[in-house]
């Protein structure tokens, strides 16, 4: 299986935590969409086989006009049959969701929405500099249902500073009333270069203690599992059969091709990333200058990624698969490390699969570092 990713690098305003690549100046939106189609055209021959998913992410893809969406979809149709894809996802912000928009999305073949909810608490939303409020969240969820998006996902953020005094039970129960098929629940990360990063530098941001993070994480996991959601990746939950194909492709190291500024691809063992600057992207794609960089991954790089990604998923990674890429000596070293982490109660080994214990799941990068082979 494999996927297509399209990056739409525009947002109306910057959320205080976000370090994705986007611009808040929408002037060049149509131009950029045209250049994305140019990139698609240029890379026609590079599309991987067995594509099962198309994903429009951002930024805020729901800022695209119907016309701009058509331009992209028409261009893709020259290369693939969109109607045959299992999953066609678009990220939308609640304030952009309306009947007219959903109608159009359905008509062009979108079958999955990923709604950037983050919270149902107006104070929290405001603090994060989100545009929408609780009312708009509820409306967007209602419409998603009404328009029979069987498959829709919501993004949720926890791990926020204690002063916000959130009632997670209230927020979660309000949300799952609308039966989203998928929930991505992210711990707030303070990134350099964001407004929150700036506050943290000035020591003006209350930080959350590890213990509290762990508590919230374990509570969310239990709460959502008791409502029928499968906690299949450290930050992702789904109803039966509704795991995201797209994200699972990433975690399984399957190929993907990415278009647009800052988009990444993973094809034939090579990672490549486009320049993450809208003006540069337009200029370079236009003049066919090099607009990307790439890097070939060694077999040990791949082993490390398998470990790192595997430990983030519930199923973990297949030990045999790793061993087959390692020398005797490295196998031995890895095995001792695994034993040590099993003893520390971080890992479980079951039928040749290694996975993180739920209770210690938040230490998965610690474990990954320990197990890395170089």
């Amino acid at each position: 299986m494999s996927g297509i990713y399209i990056h739409i690098p525009f947002c109306k305003q910057a959320c205080h935590y976000c370090d994705f690549h986007f611009s808040t100046s929408l002037k060049s939106k149509t131009t950029l969409v045209n250049y994305i189609t140019k990139e698609i055209e240029l890379r026609k021959k590079e599309f991987p086989n067995n594509i099962n998913s198309l994903y429009l992410g951002g930024g805020t893809p729901s800022l695209l006009t119907n016309n701009e969406l058509s331009i992209i979809f028409n261009s893709l149709k020259q290369v693939i049959d969109i109607s045959s894809l299992k999953e066609v996802t678009i990220e939308v912000n609640p304030e952009d969701v309306n009947r007219e928009k959903l109608n159009f999305l359905k008509s062009i073949g979108v079958n999955r929405l990923s709604i950037g909810v983050q919270s149902t608490n107006d104070k929290v939303l405001k603090w994060m500099n989100r545009i929408h409020d609780k009312q708009q969240v509820l409306l967007s969820l209602k419409l998603a249902k009404e328009y029979e998006f069987e498959n829709f996902s919501i993004d949720f953020i926890y791990g926020t500073p204690p002063f916000l005094n959130r009632d997670y039970e209230k927020e979660i129960s309000t949300l799952i009333e609308h039966l989203p098929s998928h929930i991505s629940s992210y711990h707030l990360t303070i990134e350099k270069g964001t407004y929150f990063g700036h506050l943290e530098n000035k020591k003006e941001l209350e930080n959350i203690e590890d213990q509290k993070s762990e508590q919230e994480f374990l509570w969310l996991s239990k709460r959502l599992e008791s409502s029928g959601y499968n906690h299949y990746e450290i930050s992702n939950f789904s109803l039966a059969g509704k795991q995201s194909f797209h994200n699972s492709n990433y975690w399984k190291q399957l190929p993907y091709i990415g278009f647009g500024p800052g988009a990444h691809s993973f094809l034939k063992g090579k990672r490549r990333w486009n320049v993450s600057n809208n003006a540069q992207y337009i200029k370079r794609v236009g003049t066919k200058e090099s607009y990307f960089e790439d890097e070939k991954l060694s077999s040990l790089d791949l082993v490390n990624e398998t470990i790192m990604l595997g430990l983030r998923t519930k199923d973990g990674f297949d030990l045999d698969k790793i061993y087959s890429n390692l020398s005797r000596n490295k196998q031995k070293i890895l095995n001792t490390k695994i034993q040590k982490l099993i003893q520390e109660d971080l890992l479980t080994l079951k039928e040749n699969n290694i996975f993180m214990n739920k209770k210690k799941w938040l230490l998965s990068e610690y474990a990954a570092r320990e197990l890395f082979t170089v």
């Binding site: 990713y5 791990g159 992210y186 711990h187 707030l188 990360t189 203690e209 590890d210 213990q211 993070s213 762990e214 994480f217 450290i234 930050s235 994200n247 990433y250 975690w251 993907y256 990415g258 800052g262 988009a263 990444h264 691809s265 993973f266 990672r271 990333w273 890097e295 991954l297 790089d301 490390n304 990624e305 790192m308 990604l309 983030r312 520390e344 799941w361 938040l362 230490l363 998965s364 990068e365 610690y366 990954a368 570092r369 890395f372 170089v374």
Partner: protein, 596 residues
Amino acid sequence: MKNIRNFCIIAHIDHGKSTLADRLLQSTNTISEREMKDQALDDMDIERERGITIKSHAIQMDYVHLGQPYKLNLIDTPGHVDFSYEVSRSIAACEGALLIVDASQGIEAQTISNLYLAIENDLEIIPILNKMDLPGAMPEEVTDQIIDLIGCSEEDVIQASGKTGLGIDDILERIISKIPAPKGSDDTPLQAMIFDSVFNPFRGIIAYFRVFGGVIKKGQEVKFFNTGKTYHADEIGVLKMDLNPKNELGSGDVGYIISGVKKANEVKVGDTITSNTNPCEKAIKGFEDVKPMVFAGIYPVETDDYEELRNSMEKLQLNDASLVFEPESSAALGFGFRCGFLGMLHMEIIQERLEREFNMTVITTVPNVSYSVFLKKDLNEIIVNNPSELPEPSKVEWIEEPYIKAQVITKTDYVGAVMNLCIEKRGELSNQVYLTQDRVELSFQMPLSEIVFDFYDRLKSVSRGYASFDYSPTGYKRSDLIKLDILLNAEQVDALSALVHRSNAFTLGKKICLKLKELIPRQQFEIPIQAAIGAKIVARETIKALRKDVTAKCYGGDITRKRKLLEKQKAGKKRMRQVGRVEVPQEAFLAVLKLD
């Protein structure tokens, strides 16, 4: 022989000795355009990387003056106080010295100490006002300082710039007219002094010497006066950019000898080379052994690497005879070596060279000075180079610690701040001299151990960089010292113990705990850090347990970046040492040196 001139370049650190040497090498065509690079004589990796000279470098230049060919033997010396013994040795091979002063900085501490070394050895001093190209140059003021210091006239001070080449011809002319030709005669028995030696992996030990009398010939039997050993002079020659073999060298010459010596300790710098068949009567007065000032343990991060570490240290010693070490063991760190260094920079350099040239990852423990401990029983004196070897306090009558004479040159504006710092460091002002209206030289008596702990950085910050520092040992004095121990996770870590003055123990204990808390990464369990004097806990901090070590998202674009970050962090962990259950990073052991 009257056409030989031997001179060295001396100055305070960074005043431009090596850069000026570049210009001299260039204008005498000693170095080709192709070989030319900044500070060409600084050929060790670590010198190039840090931009400082660590070892003296000798080189011969040919120069024609008024139709006469001359041989000019130049020795570039280091400016840093840790390496002042290199300056003394170089001076012993010369009749003259270029005293360089940075025109934008003026006279500083090592300007004076190195000048005195040269004067004691009767060297002819040629004062040079360097970096004249800098906009901040203060020629009148600094010339006055120089005149005051050496009692020359204004015309004697040559204005120069190693950057633009200003004054280079003047300097060469002055070297010939002012510096006396070497005395001595080719007709007396051979008498040559070894002033330096280096190790070459292919050729063994190469000794640099200066002939004071007689002639040395390739292939002759030579005797090293002090060690009494005889050798065959396999190769002799002069030092150009490369070794330049000759058949003979006469009185006044500077050259090198390769004689099959493999071990560094067979060649004693300061020894006299003479002829085996026709020996001279007396040796030339040599040098005192360089004494280490600072001691610290060096341990392999991986305990298995002990033997390899010993090998590497032995090899390093071939290149740097000032490094001394002997095996020791630590409860916390296992087997390692107690090493003696010339100072803190020397210690840093040794650690870096072990890592860079020998690929050894090591832990350096808290450094200390050498203490004299007098026992109650018989007032017997024992030397303690490692705090954890201090006998039980009940058995100790008193402890003495090394003192130094410290000299600080600073601007009048900072005199107050510098004095406060030195007094805080248990210093006593012994002299205060105004060099000019706004430059003061302060002398203190103070414990050497106080400059080991966080002195240079503090001095720099209280003086906003306008202070230079020099010191020399003056002997031992009785002190009220106690041992401060550090416990990690309730276990005492001997490698973190320090002997401190009783009056500082509490504040120091507190600061060390805080610093360790900052440096030791959180682990899966809570780690108490305590400072103790005997059984009494005087400070405590706690490192909270690690419960979260993961970022929320990891999608397409994050994967490579994330993996690389984790790999990098993992590489950083290689520098951690397991102490009991706790993983302690390398820099934590030196934490006590950099307390705020």
